[in-house]
């Protein structure tokens, strides 16, 4: 990675200062209940933190996200590999996966509630459904690409099927799998918030919804700031892990 030169960072800081300044200025001009100023939102954020509400909600949301995403990733990788290594399976099931992938999984909330209730397990099912097809699709595509790219090399060195899989397909697909998990994470996050808003109230989803119901724009904004920081940290962490595990792949545009 190239080290960020100082002027770049200066510009970024300048940008944030500008946004915050405009926000603050506008917030002080208008009705604070409708558009709270930046400092007001910060105050609310602090109140959330101090009261322990935010911490508790954060842990609940992260727990749901991590469990759902973990199950979704494992299942997605296995299914993706199986389908990706068999052209007939891939041809048969591709349209179904495509349909599931393009359907907004959030629409399944009532269905999941009907089948599994509203508790944590039901919420995990929703998060799982939100991310699993992203991982399947990316893994499948990775396995197929790598197979196509290296089939002749592996065969010319007389690798067995198992050897080809372990030494060529698996390491070659890692970066694709990671992109799938990163994409799935975004979708899983939405699923987790939806689950916590509309199923059993818990976590950040219920905090946001509660804020809406009590007409607290400052609280909603405080939650969105929390979510934005969390999402940014998670995405950066995923990218770093990706860089560490698959450093040879440096195309940043794959989602």
């Amino acid at each position: 990675m190239k080290r960020r030169s100082l002027p770049d960072l200066v510009w970024a800081v300048l940008g944030i200062v500008l946004i915050v300044a405009v926000w603050q200025f506008y917030g002080q001009l208008t009705n604070p209940f409708l558009f709270p100023s930046f400092t007001r939102v910060l105050g609310q954020l602090w109140e959330y933190i101090a009261s322990g509400i935010l911490g508790r909600a954060f842990v609940e949301t992260m727990g749901l996200l991590v469990v759902g995403l973990a199950i979704g990733s494992v299942v997605g990788i296995v299914v993706g590999i199986v389908i990706g290594s068999n052209a007939n399976l891939s041809a048969t099931f591709a349209p179904f996966i495509q349909v599931a992938y393009s359907t907004p999984r959030i629409a399944l909330i009532p269905l999941v509630m009907l089948w599994f209730g509203v508790g944590f397990n039901a919420q995990v099912v929703l998060v799982f459904l939100s991310c699993v097809f992203e991982v399947v699709t990316a893994t499948e595509a990775g396995v197929q690409l790598v197979t196509k790219q290296y089939r002749e090399v592996a065969r010319s060195f007389r690798l067995s099927r198992l050897q080809t899989f372990i030494k060529v397909i698996l390491p070659g697909s890692v970066s694709y799998i990671f992109s799938g998990i990163r994409l799935g994470m975004g979708s899983a996050f939405v699923g987790a918030l939806g689950a916590q808003m509309f199923m059993q109230a818990s976590g950040l989803g219920s905090v946001v919804k509660h804020a809406m119901q009590s007409f607290r724009t400052d609280q909603v904004m405080a939650c969105v700031i929390t979510l934005a920081i969390t999402a940014a940290v998670l995405t950066a962490g995923m990218r770093r892990a990706e860089q560490r595990i698959a450093p040879w792949r440096n195309d940043s545009f794959d989602d």
């Binding site: 060195f157 060529v168 390491p171």
Partner: protein
């Protein structure tokens, strides 16, 4: 030295029925190709004939080039010898054993290198040895030996993405040589390189390959490359691929860039161009 560029060459039309007795100076052919036919079916074309009645005998230890315009089936033939592509009829033997799958006697160098970006140079060179079940320590030593042979000793721990194209192809060569193949197949190994690198690497590869006993089959569309490197050249005509003639390259060894200024070189070059020209013209017309 042949002074007169107008002399005829030792060329033979490809034999219909190859006869061992007809080539007394050779031992048993290393690779025996007889009456090979190959057609492809795709969505666009049905049963496109890629190779028509191809006959060729590759002698042990020789360097032979398959030369022809793109799409003439020379790469298909190479992959058939490698056991990577099945053929419709005819026979392909290596040391009298029919080729049905990749043989352990064969190693291949790929046009786009086929290196694994997640492995280091050493890891890439070890690849074929791992597949062959060579134990760790020996594998490592062998890999190092061949990495040194291709002059990349300092880059053992680098990843392919950190190397230039020419260096990457040297890794590809080391990987193939490390399994100590009896036959080395090279599919346009310099095709992805720029002109300057290509020329440098050609001569370097020649000196590296002199240290091995392997029989080498090279696919190329460059007349100069074929002339500089090979002992014999099989000239292909396209659609369907067919060997027009096989000629002996009687240029002195060891060869370097100076070989290109020999009158004999110019004469052979002219001869091959003339053989390929009607082909090229037909190509333009269609």
């Amino acid at each position: 030295m042949a002074a007169d560029p107008g002399v005829s060459f030792v060329t033979r039309a490809p034999e219909k029925q190859p006869d061992l007795a007809a080539a007394p100076h050779t031992a048993r052919p290393k690779v025996w190709i007889e009456g090979v036919m190959k057609s492809y079916s795709s969505k666009a074309v049905d049963n496109l004939l890629a190779l028509r009645d191809v006959n060729l005998q590759v002698r042990p230890g020789e360097f032979i080039s398959l030369l022809g315009p793109s799409g003439c089936g020379k790469t298909t033939l190479l992959k058939i010898i490698a056991g990577l592509v099945p053929f419709d009829s005819g026979r392909v033997d290596i040391d009298r054993d029919p080729v049905t799958e990749p043989s352990s006697k064969v190693a291949m160098v790929f046009q786009n290198f086929g290196l694994f970006p997640w492995r280091t140079v050493r890891g890439n060179v070890e690849f074929g040895l791992e597949a062959a079940g060579v134990p760790g320590k020996l594998r490592r030593e062998t890999a190092e030996e061949y990495i040194n042979l291709v002059g990349l000793g300092r880059f053992s721990n680098s990843h392919p993405s950190q190397l230039s194209g020419g260096m990457q192809q040297r890794v590809g060569l080391a990987r193939a040589l490390a399994v100590r193949p009896e036959i080395l197949l090279m599919d346009e190994p310099f095709g992805a390189l720029d002109a300057h690198t290509r020329e440098l690497l050609q001569f370097e590869m020649l000196s590296i390959l002199q240290k091995t006993q392997a029989t080498i089959i090279l696919v190329t569309h460059s007349v100069d490359e074929a002339l500089v490197l090979s002992d014999r050249i099989a000239v292909f005509s396209p659609s369907p691929g067919h060997i027009m003639e096989v000629l002996d390259v009687d240029l002195p060894h060891p060869r370097d860039a100076a070989v290109k200024s020999l009158p004999r070189y110019a004469a052979m070059r002219q001869h091959i161009w003339d053989a390929l020209r009607p082909v090229a013209k037909k190509d333009d017309a269609s």
